[in-house]
């Protein structure tokens, strides 16, 4: 009521100035203020009261006016800050000074209400508030109860308080339910009358039950999925599909049976066969590689060596010996025939037999590849010596051979038999004398294979392969002109000429030449069986070989045991060139790359190569090619592609020689069919 803070000093002066106060009251009525009775003392104290320790100032000093300016300057801010200026190098006075004075700073933590943290805090506060409310309610209820208690009787209060307590408890529980996720479940127990009751049931004992089976059998499978494995799988699929297609096509019950039996046989054979047969292909390749290693330098020479000395040799050339092919089985047999395979340029056929009338034995047919000089690729043996052979151009696996006993046979290289596929016999019209030459012809109208053969019995026979038999047709019987004799019963017997060689014209199909033992060459036609188109008195001894020039359709060449090689124009009766080689000439052959180059081999072991464009009268190469002088060379053949020749001798050896560059010159301006490799 009465403020404690009073000016204690005023007490004594008030006592003094009570009277004064009263007197002043009257004056105050004029001012209009109505003051209460108690205020008399207050109103009376109008006169200034001076505290005793107040500063004594004169009036003049009192009247002095002090101007007080309210500025925004901070009175505590320094007014004379001096800083060192590095630019000018002196201390400089800074006029502007920071005038801010911080009176109070407090780091606050305001969070916007809508931010995540704000919302979270708000939520938490709600929960806290909710629990507080419930506690507050409970607390307030209990307070009420407590207050109610002293007013009412205990028992009554108890029952009554029970109800509100229960109600309160209910309320609390309701509130508890309503507020989600209460941090603590507060169990509200009745403070006065509460007892917990619990009961326990018998827990059934637990027992594990298991059942185990045998694990399923497992295997590990791993494979790689490469590009090529995928490719292989596709290829297999394709093959299977094609097989099923073929089976569907060739469906007949009989065929099926046969097929099945054959299949079964095949399968059984395969299973029975030794594992080693599957290495055949690999073994073959390996053998070739081993040979290549051994004959490495020869192979290199064959491929790359060019005799540089040819530049200085003035158009002469040399023959470089490469491989030598020989086989034990054909040791004592002479080489009687040589032929290059038209398809595989490294494969050639060698026929073995004997030229000796007295010593006739067996014969052999061997196929060598340049890739394997030590062993033949194919070998066939026959009872009678082979005198000649020819390989079919279109079917390079068919070889026809003529035997000393007059038989002809066809061998099929595709089949593994060592016996010929077809053979003539006495019944089927074999020759009665050795067959000196055989030549394949073009397939006839019915696509049957056919070939010609010439023999000393004077017959030129055309053989045709009909299905599985050889059928012969006499084309021409060689008769020596002007030698008819009178035989029995007035029949005119003609002396039969002996054909020893023949050659068919490259372009004019029906025309061919036949050389005979008498030294004559007949120009014949397939269509005329009794008349010759022309006769040439070629040699004094048997004609060993005749050969048409591959480029000039008019020119042919012949060689003979009378030591000469003659070149003819078939329209002229006399030869164009005659070469005397000092020894019986075994064979002549034109070069496939030039129309003017040819080779001749003689029995003194020499090979002669002529090039008519360079030297018309002499050989440009004259070289012994076989080891011993007694070794007679019997045949020579040019390789159609590579610059090599093979030479066969009567010891059974075949030597391969490389032609030096001078021998391979191709004439300019002349049609050339050969492209060098």
């Amino acid at each position: 009521m009465f403020p404690a803070s009073k000016m204690p000093n005023k007490q004594p002066p008030r006592k003094q100035s009570i009277n004064i106060g009263r007197g002043a009251r009257k004056r105050d009525e004029d001012s209009g203020t109505e003051v209460g009775e108690g205020a008399d003392e207050w109103a009376q104290s109008k006169a200034t009261v001076r505290p005793p320790d107040q500063l004594e100032l004169t009036d003049a000093e009192l009247k002095e006016e002090f101007t007080r300016i309210l500025t925004a300057n901070n009175p505590h801010a320094p007014q004379n800050i001096v800083r060192y200026s590095f630019k000018e190098g002196t201390y400089k006075f800074i006029g502007i000074v920071n005038q801010m004075a911080v009176h109070f700073s407090h780091v606050g933590n305001l969070i916007p209400r809508d931010s995540d943290e704000g919302r979270r805090q708000h939520y938490r506060d709600k929960l806290a508030a909710g629990s507080q409310e419930s506690t507050k309610v409970a607390i307030s209820e209990t307070e009420i109860l407590e207050e109610e208690e002293p007013k009412e009787a205990e028992t009554e209060a108890g029952s009554q308080t029970d109800m509100p307590a229960a109600e309160a408890a209910e309320k609390v529980t309701e509130e508890e339910l309503m507020t989600p996720k209460q941090p603590k479940e507060q169990k509200l127990t009745n403070q006065f009358n509460f007892s917990e009751r619990a009961s326990q049931t018998i827990n059934n004992p637990l027992r594990d039950r298991e059942c185990q089976m045998e694990p399923p059998p497992r295997t590990n499978f791993s494979a790689t999925a490469n590009q090529w494995e995928i490719y292989d799988a596709y290829v297999e699929e394709l093959e299977k599909q094609e097989k099923t297609k073929e089976k569907e096509k060739a469906k007949t019950p009989v065929a099926k049976k046969v097929g099945k039996i054959a299949m079964r046989k095949m399968a059984s054979i395969e299973s029975q066969s030794d594992d080693i047969t599957k290495v055949t292909q690999a073994a073959k390749i390996m053998e070739r590689m081993v040979n290549q290693n051994t004959f490495d330098d020869i192979a290199q020479d064959f491929k790359y060596y060019e005799d540089a000395a040819d530049e200085y040799r003035d158009q002469e050339g040399t023959l470089l010996p490469l491989w030598k092919f020989q086989n034990d089985k054909a040791k004592h047999l002479a080489v009687t025939a040589l032929c290059w395979n038209p398809k595989y340029k490294d494969l050639f056929a060698v026929g073995h037999g004997s030229y000796d009338f007295m010593k006739q034995s067996r014969g052999m047919l061997l196929f060598y590849s340049m890739k394997n000089p030590s062993f033949p690729e194919y070998s066939f043996s026959s009872e009678s010596g082979i005198m000649c052979l020819d390989i079919h151009v279109d079917h390079p696996y068919l070889v026809v051979v003529g035997h000393y006993d007059g038989n002809v046979a066809i061998y099929n290289l595709k089949k593994p038999h060592s016996q010929p596929s077809f053979r003539s016999s006495a019944k089927s019209g074999k020759h009665t004398d050795p067959v000196w030459q055989v030549r394949w012809q073009k397939d006839d109208m019915d696509n049957n294979l056919n070939f010609f053969s010439v023999s000393s019995d004077g017959r030129i026979v055309s053989w045709t392969l009909l299905k599985s038999e050889l059928v012969h047709t006499d084309v021409i019987k060689l008769k020596v002109e002007g030698s008819t004799t009178d035989g029995l019963n007035g029949l005119q017997l003609h002396t039969v000429g002996c054909g020893t060689a023949f050659d068919f014209h490259k372009e004019i199909d029906y025309m061919f030449l036949v050389g005979t033992e008498e030294g004559k060459i007949y120009k014949c036609s397939k269509s005329y069986s009794s008349k010759f188109l022309d006769t040439y008195d070629a040699h004094n001894m048997a004609v060993d070989a005749v050969s048409w020039n591959p480029y000039h359709s008019k020119v042919f060449m012949s060689c003979s045991s009378d030591w000469t090689v003659k070149i003819w124009d078939h329209t002229i009766k006399t030869p164009m060139f005659i070469y005397d080689l000092n020894s019986a000439v075994g064979d002549v052959a034109w070069a496939p790359y030039s129309s003017t180059v040819f080779a001749a081999v003689t029995t003194n072991g020499k090979a002669h190569v002529f090039d008519l464009s360079i030297n018309k009268y002499e050989a440009i190469c004259n070289q012994p090619v076989v080891a011993k002088k007694k070794n007679k060379i019997t045949h020579v053949q040019f390789n159609p592609v590579y610059p090599i020749i093979i030479v066969g001798d009567d010891r059974g050896h075949v030597t391969c020689l490389k032609l030096s560059p001078n021998l391979r010159k191709m004439p300019k301006g002349v049609r050339v069919l050969y492209r060098p490799r």
Binding site: W228, I230, V279, T280, A283, K284, I285, V290
Partner: protein, 96 residues
């Protein structure tokens, strides 16, 4: 069958050939002319190398396939001819 045997014999008796062996697809030697330990060593190592070489060739072009593998070393030359199921290995001293 005899032909293959003959061919193998010829290879073995060829000039400079030290030994030959035939190895099956799993690397187990079937036939050999060398002693056991050497054979096992050669077959195991060369089998792996051949597989690798074959894989290389075929990865580059699946239509291609390895036909022959030659390893020339200072002392001799090892030649491997892979087949569908077998491997033919020949060791030769090339005459130099």
């Amino acid at each position: 069958m005899a032909e293959v045997e003959e061919t193998l014999k010829r290879i073995q008796s060829h000039k400079g050939v030290v030994g030959t062996m035939v190895v099956n697809a799993e690397g187990i030697p079937i036939r050999t002319t060398l002693d056991n330990s050497t054979t096992v060593q050669y077959s195991g190592l060369l089998h792996q190398l051949t597989m690798k070489a074959k894989s290389t060739v075929r990865d580059i072009d699946p239509q291609n396939d390895l036909t022959f593998l030659r390893i020339r070393s200072k002392k001799h030359e090892i030649m491997v001819a892979p087949d569908k199921e077998y491997l033919l290995i020949v060791i030769q001293n090339p005459c130099e």
